[in-house]
């Protein structure tokens, strides 16, 4: 079969195609079609020629096969040191081979490459810190994902995810109307306890424009309310855009480079339209990576920076606590020891390690760090899109053992997880291994422990 009905090299650009794909529960038919999907040697070869430049070619060439990257990868560690999980092996046997053969490979090769690029790598970039030659396999896997995507070899859920971004400019089917309704609903509902609570939409020239993860309006609307409460507490002049509020990018996980550009430009357009001073993004790692770290490049901004200064949520919270905009009641600090899950996407790949520690110094009595942590932290086990991929559920479960053991070694029963992917991964890790822990985003913890400013107190009857 040259191109499948569901599985093909055409990106998903319509609601109908999303529905059609979603109708194939679990992607059974989709993956079946993939087995016989044609690989266009000409197109793939041309794409490699155009995009595989000296950085990656040199990485592939000078890898001296020393294996010093093996222990850096949590997949290697949790799979009983299976040599096939050595980062160098994983990339050389997929991307390396693909480049050497100039794209002349078959569907079976591409499927194995897909299973490696998504099922054996979360693009956490940790191995890049451990290779003496400065070879970043995470960066190469994310490039490989782009090559695979171009030929239609992408996991089922990410094909849908990329389509969602292309159609809805969000990772889920949340329309502008749904989003605005959710904001109004949350402001009303939480306004009972927090008088005057507002979620200003499309307010021009605000100090802060806030952007978030579609999961929040879709499944966790209380998160939307919580961010409003905290901004109001801090007395910020803020807004959310009616369009361009989605900070995440499953297109990035999918390797859909064109989709990445479409998505991030929606956010930058909102900035252009509303002219806020700064942008704050929610407690999500890949959203920050997709829109703030890599985003400017997707959009072709020569400064390499977002159009206005952007803060990850942990940066904003740290600033608000430091400046006394939000005050924590010392009596309400978290008493039990807490450990911090560092999200690869804004810690190793974003330099924000100190922010979470600063926040914890206000919020927690005691922090016990995982070893290693910070820039050298291990992936939670669900990054790079892996959380959502049913095909690699078993791989993910094995990978969780690493984080499980790290958390257990701290003796803590409470994990701070200021990242949607980490939050999910820690939840699923607990579900799989029952180590009796709790985990939380920052927002609910801050609201619980903060001293309510007078302007937000309920008036006595």
């Amino acid at each position: 079969m040259p191109q499948g009905i569901l599985c093909n090299n055409r990106p998903v650009n319509s609601k109908e195609r999303i529905m059609e794909l979603m109708g194939d529960a679990g992607g059974k038919k989709y993956y079946k079609e993939m087995e016989t999907l044609d690989v266009s040697h000409d197109d793939l070869g041309a794409l490699i020629k155009k995009t595989c430049k000296s950085r990656i070619r040199t990485w592939l060439e000078i890898c001296n096969h020393c294996g010093l990257c093996a222990d850096s990868c949590f997949f290697y560690l949790t799979n009983n040191k299976d040599p096939k999980q050595t980062p160098s092996y994983k990339i050389q046997s997929t991307l390396g081979e693909l480049v050497r053969r100039k794209g002349k490979v078959d569907a079976a090769f591409m499927i194995n490459a897909m299973d490696t690029a998504w099922g054996k790598c979360t693009c956490c970039n940790r191995c890049g810190l451990y290779c003496p030659h400065g070879i970043d396999m995470g960066a190469m896997f994310s490039y490989l994902r782009g090559l695979l995507f171009s030929q239609g070899f992408v996991p089922y859920e990410l094909k849908i995810g990329s389509g969602m971004h292309r159609v809805y400019r969000g990772q889920m089917d949340v329309t502008t109307e749904d989003w605005v309704d959710t904001c109004e609903w949350m402001a009303d509902e939480y306004g009972v306890d927090y008088p005057g609570l507002e979620i200003p939409i499309d307010k021009p020239n605000a100090d802060i424009i806030y952007t978030l993860n579609a999961r929040e309006p879709k499944f966790y609307p209380e998160d939307v309310a919580e961010m409003a409460i905290l901004f109001q507490m801090a007395g910020e002049n803020w807004t959310v855009p009616s369009v361009g509020w989605e900070e995440t990018s499953l297109t990035m996980f999918a390797g859909d480079w064109e989709g990445c550009k479409m998505q991030v430009e929606t956010v930058y357009d909102a900035i252009e339209r509303l002219k806020p001073k700064r942008m704050v993004v929610t407690e999500c790692g890949h959203a920050y990576r997709g829109t703030v770290v890599e985003g400017p490049y997707y959009a072709g901004l020569e400064s390499g920076k977002t159009p206005i200064e952007t803060l990850h949520y942990v940066e904003w919270v740290a600033e608000a606590l430091r400046e006394g905009k939000i005050k924590i009641d010392p009596a309400k600090k978290i008493k039990e020891p807490v450990t911090i899950q560092d999200a690869c996407n804004y810690v190793r790949n974003g330099g924000l390690e100190k922010c979470t520690r600063e926040i914890a110094s206000y919020l927690c009595e005691e922090v016990i760090e995982m070893e290693p942590h910070g820039e050298h932290a291990f992936c939670c086990g669900g990054g790079g899109g892996l959380n959502g991929l049913a095909r690699y559920g078993p791989e993910r479960k094995i990978g969780f053992k690493n984080k499980r053991d790290q958390v257990l070694a701290t003796g803590c029963k409470f994990v701070l997880t200021p990242c949607h992917n980490c939050w999910d991964a820690i939840r699923d890790m607990e579900e799989a291994y029952h180590i009796g822990i709790k985990w939380s985003f920052l927002k609910p913890l801050l609201i619980k422990a903060a001293i309510m400013p007078d302007h937000m107190k309920l008036k006595e009857e």
Partner: protein, 233 residues
């Protein structure tokens, strides 16, 4: 001491040596130039030309952290391998340049010489290089994660790198036919130099390029501009 087989010796240390130096010199310079030319801020997603000062800081830290023995987390995590790697590379680069015999040739031909090391020190370095090489071979065979990625090419590269040491050592101690070992030494040395630009030995210069690139990546894009924070390798 002029070998009886003078013509071959003269050719090898005359025109062939010159040719070797030229291929080596031009080759490594070209490798660096081609590397830099192939960098693309859009594809690599690193604004090399903007925010450059952050990139330079990141690059310097990335290169130097790894040039210092035990200077990085991974060097510290693998003490035996780290020792072998540093001893090997130090011996490989240092010995030929400061070897007395090589410098005598320099004096003979051009009337100058560099500072030299004693012959016994050169022997120790040679032995250290050979021991490190043996360790690296055994490691390739013993460790599954290394074995799986090892190819014939890796052994060949190692052979090319140590051959001048083995042959030089044999010639110095004149275990057997001096002439043979001397010529083998010269040829293997020339092969090594010529191989540098064309093989993985290009990491002679590309190590610095690749390390600097990743350092710039972290220095510019991945956090380096956040309060001027430098990654700890």
């Amino acid at each position: 001491m002029i070998p009886p087989d003078a013509t071959l010796y003269e050719i090898l240390t005359g025109p062939v040596l010159w040719g070797t130096f030229i291929i080596f010199g031009v080759g490594v310079v070209l490798r660096v130039l081609l590397y830099v030319k192939g960098l693309d801020w859009k594809i690599d997603r690193v604004t090399y030309g903007v925010n450059t000062s952050y990139g330079v800081k990141g690059a310097i830290k990335s290169v130097f952290s790894w040039l210092i023995p035990f200077g990085t987390r991974n060097w510290r995590a693998n003490p035996v391998m780290t020792t072998a790697v540093f001893v090997f590379h130090f011996g490989l680069l240092f010995t030929p340049v400061f070897l007395l015999a090589h410098n005598m040739m320099l004096t003979e031909r051009w009337g100058f010489s560099l500072w030299t090391i004693s012959e016994s020190f050169a022997d120790y370095l040679t032995i250290a290089v050979l021991i490190s090489a043996v360790y690296m071979v055994l490691r390739r065979i013993a460790l599954p994660e290394v074995r799986i990625i090892t190819t014939f090419y890796d052994y060949l590269i190692l052979l090319i790198a140590v051959a001048p040491f083995v042959t030089g050592f044999m010639a110095r101690y004149q275990f057997s036919d001096y002439q043979f070992w001397l010529l083998a030494h010269i040829i293997s040395g020339e092969i090594m130099l010529i191989a540098i630009p064309f093989t993985k030995l290009s990491h002679f210069v590309l190590f610095f390029c690749s390390r600097a690139q990743l350092g710039m990546d972290f220095g510019i894009k991945r956090g380096g501009m956040k309060g001027n924070k430098q990654l700890t390798w």
